[in-house]
Assembly symmetry: C2
Homo-oligomer: 245 residues x 2
């Protein structure tokens, strides 16, 4: 079984049946993946505003109605309580547990946000012949806090977080062209070169993910990534496969 060529529905079905993927990076290439945030309805209006006001950090693919476990506009059968590779459960802002289903935690006032994930555009870059070192290394992408504030919405606030990929200048130009057309999954880079301009002191020590080396003649390329979870209370976050066919 080759995970790269799984149809999204197949991958979700495997997860629903108990298969444990360690990560959904590299699964179902060519389809959009989503970061999933589930919140009580009382927080949903502010979080929806936060995503709309910071669309490049949190590009919304879908927002459910309260209690809705499907996402029909994504054109696929989805049960958000069972089809995600892993669920992190936050209570009062603290990570309290990790689960493989949330059927027993589900509430009728839960609203689900499907946020475009950079796993989607990485496949496009690779298919255009742009090497990504962290993928070649089999590691997670490097991510950094910046000094660039996002727009506040109610309790949701914080500075931009960026993912970092070193590449040759010609590849950086191609990557800008390719991802500019992918606004549903973060779109064009937010910054290139000189990490200190956005408040990154040491490119060798990421705040999240894994370190990646930059080679002679390469330039730093930064994309916005969902940092949207600062200040959220009672929040469940997950990584997901959300197939849009």
């Amino acid at each position: 079984m080759n995970n790269r060529t799984l149809e999204p529905g197949q991958a979700r079905s495997m997860i629903r049946s108990g298969h444990r993927f360690s990560t959904t990076s590299g699964i179902s290439l060519g389809y959009a993946q989503a970061n999933i945030v589930i919140l009580p309805e009382d927080y949903a209006a502010d979080f929806h505003r936060f995503c709309t006001l910071n669309r490049k950090a949190c590009p919304l693919l879908y927002v459910s109605a309260a209690g809705q476990t499907e996402a029909p506009a994504l054109g696929a059968d989805i049960d958000i309580r069972t089809d995600i590779a892993g669920y992190r459960v936050y209570r009062n802002g603290k990570l309290t547990e990790q689960q493989h289903t949330i059927q027993e935690l589900w509430r009728k006032d839960f609203v689900t946000f499907y946020i475009g994930c950079s796993f989607s555009f990485e496949e496009a870059l690779i298919s255009h012949g742009i090497p990504l070192r962290h993928v070649e290394n089999g590691s997670n992408v490097s991510m950094f806090n910046t000094n660039v504030p996002l727009h506040d919405a109610g309790p949701f606030k914080g500075n931009m977080v960026v993912s970092y990929r070193p590449m040759r200048p010609a590849d950086a130009i191609r990557a800008i062209q390719i991802t500019s057309d992918m606004s549903q999954v973060h779109g064009a880079p937010v910054h290139i070169g000189n990490p200190s301009q956005i408040g990154i002191d040491d490119i060798r020590t990421p705040d999240y993910g894994d370190r990646v080396d930059i080679l002679e003649g390469e330039i730093e390329v930064f994309w916005k990534t969902p940092s949207c979870l600062t200040g959220a209370a009672g929040l469940i976050r997950m990584s997901s496969i959300s197939g849009t066919s």
Copy 2:
């Protein structure tokens, strides 16, 4: 005074001081304009979902907090109660009056949606040398109901409405390229050629706006446009100048 070169802040200031623009088409070229929808907070969550689920019809530039009359993320001083060229007031789904300010109608539970307007991309097309017949005629763009359903969200539902611009095939290709990069103001066309494929029976009788003639050798080009007002109760709709600099 040339309206085309007005800074958005100047135009808003003129409106606030009582100047009556008959339309904001052609004002402050090079800046984004917004369609404005103001709703009581009770309807805001569903309408926000409606826009997110139908982003090409209703591309959101900004969503206010309840009672917020400014839009700081747009980088300009805006008072949404006074700075709009005209306000249509709907009560229980019926247009009851038109106003030049809504200061006396304003409520602390009002949420304002700023939706990207095609007046913005028309200027880009013209500046790239693509003639637009309705602009040359000094008339409004032709708009049509289609048979293509939008995604429902609570009480908000309906079929897609499209704006229609006839042009030569080479210009149509350029127009697709130019507007593909403008996802905040409807982005690429949704359909070209054969109007009957999307349920338009007679291209000479638009459902909204003015009739425009198609010349020998031209092709029909259709963009999604905000039709988001079907089924809304107690709704205020306006056309606005919202400058993003």
